[in-house]
Amino acid sequence: MEMNAEAKRILAVSISKLYASRSQRGGLRLHRSLLVSLVMKSARDIYHSTVALVEKAVETTASTEEAMEAMDTAEKLPEKQPEITDNTEDKENQRPAAKRPRKRPGKVSAVPDFLPEKRARLEPGEERHDTAQSPSVCRSSVVTETRSALPLLSRVIPAF
């Protein structure tokens, strides 16, 4: 968990560095941006691997609970069938609260909570992989790398 917290902190610091480097005098430094993105990648990998371990542990616990529930409710199954049919016919008018929740209880969100929610948007006409535009290509490549690492990032690295 400490590693997870450290990875999150380093990710946040790295993002702020990338953001600040866009406005520094002399333009974006390719070498520095590359090093920061490598650190972010390492932190992201550790963060996701930690999250995956937690998810796996939760799934194991949940599947055990479901197995227990399945054993308990096996006798009540014939009584429930007419209710299911009614539910199918009246599916559109079901209240949202009656719907089965889409998320498993206790599932850890894949999105780090310290990141904003909106996706970054590109300005019209901008090409992400245009090698002729040097600093902007560098910048876009770093942003792309960042975006692939952390999809919900637009507030920290807005469109340019």
Binding site: L34, V39, S134
Partner: protein, 460 residues
Amino acid sequence: MVPSSAQKVFYLLIYFCVVSAEAGEKSSEMEWCFSQVKGAIDDEVAEADLISAVEFNYTGELLATGDKGGRIVIFQQNPENKSQPQCRAEYNVYSTFQSHEPEFDYLKSLEIEEKINKIRWLPKKNAAHFLLSTNDKTIKLWKISERNKRPEGYNLRNGPYKDFTSIASLQVPVFKPMDLMVEASPRRVFANAHKYHINSISVNSDNETYLSADDLRINLWHLEITGQSFNIVDIKPANMEDLTEVITAAEFHPNQCHTLVYGSSKGIIRLCDMRAAALCDKHAKIFEEPEDRNSRSFFSEIISSISDVKFSHSGRYMMTRDYLSVKIWDINMGTRPIETFQVNEYLRSNLCSLYDNDCIFDKFECCWSGNDRVVMTGSYNNFFRMFDRGFRRDVTLEASRENCKPQSVLKPCKVSIGFEISIDSVDCNKKILHTAWHPLDNIIAVATTNNLFIFQDKLK
């Protein structure tokens, strides 16, 4: 946050032991004496005054410094004191000029800094001196010449123009002595050849060409031709998303005009032979030390990035600097360095804090002594380190205005082993990034933030 002076003293007392030279224990056979310090005394440093380049010329007579404001200051060794051993390291201002101005790239909406990244002297061919200076995008060739005579006795002009009808006889103008005037004039401007930031320039031993390197490309220039350059190394990937490595330093071999090396952000050094092909994308030799898996961390890539690469004067060895160490390589063996010197291993436990305050991105340079026996590099707290390859000894010295008495011997500083160094005891604002060693004598120039210290070897 800058620690208070009391805190600094406290931490320095705990973590660093000053070893008196009189105690008899020497870390090196050389003793260094203070000679001069150049620069302002003020604690508040203007950013334009930050020294960004230091370089002796081929004879050591001239010492050039570049700063963040785009200026170059050249110091000249006092000719009267050259023969006096005690005062031979006395340098006076010879010339000051504005090399680069800030520019603006309107197409890319980018400001181009005027900071001088590198200075390289050309071998002297005539009475004038020539040097190359570069900022992020443009290289300039400067001619520094002296004028100590001026012609006098013109027939028509001696101040205001004379009426030619009043001239009864003709005289031949003669040169008469005048006060020495040093002129710096730009002879060539090599521009528009680099899309990325120039990090290195290096003059070839053929005295006709030189290279300039940016993050992804190395170009070869002829000193007389500014309109075109040859690209000899290009590591730019087809898709910039696949970029994993950039060029961080490059240098020509001191004797072989066809050989060059470049270091990368991955800690790899590649040697290229220009005879093999016009494009040297494929290296002739690679120098890479296997990574120690046990010491892997978030910041392993950053600290392994090469910040400087220098050939020895003999050309047999080369030295590389990364964040924590200096490595000496035999150019005939690329599997591992022949020597590794730990500069500031105590920083390894504080890499996270150094990443937070951006100091982990500092690029330290290194240099060889004239006889290739000793190597030198800078560190934090205004410390600089020397490693004697022959005696297998190292010494840590401090460039401080507190040790500014003329001819005072520098006392070596010793970092106590066994204590865990707190990041608070490392003053990251005081760093020595640039050092230079006189090519023919034991005189060194060490640049702190905005001061240039000159030390000389105490002759015994």
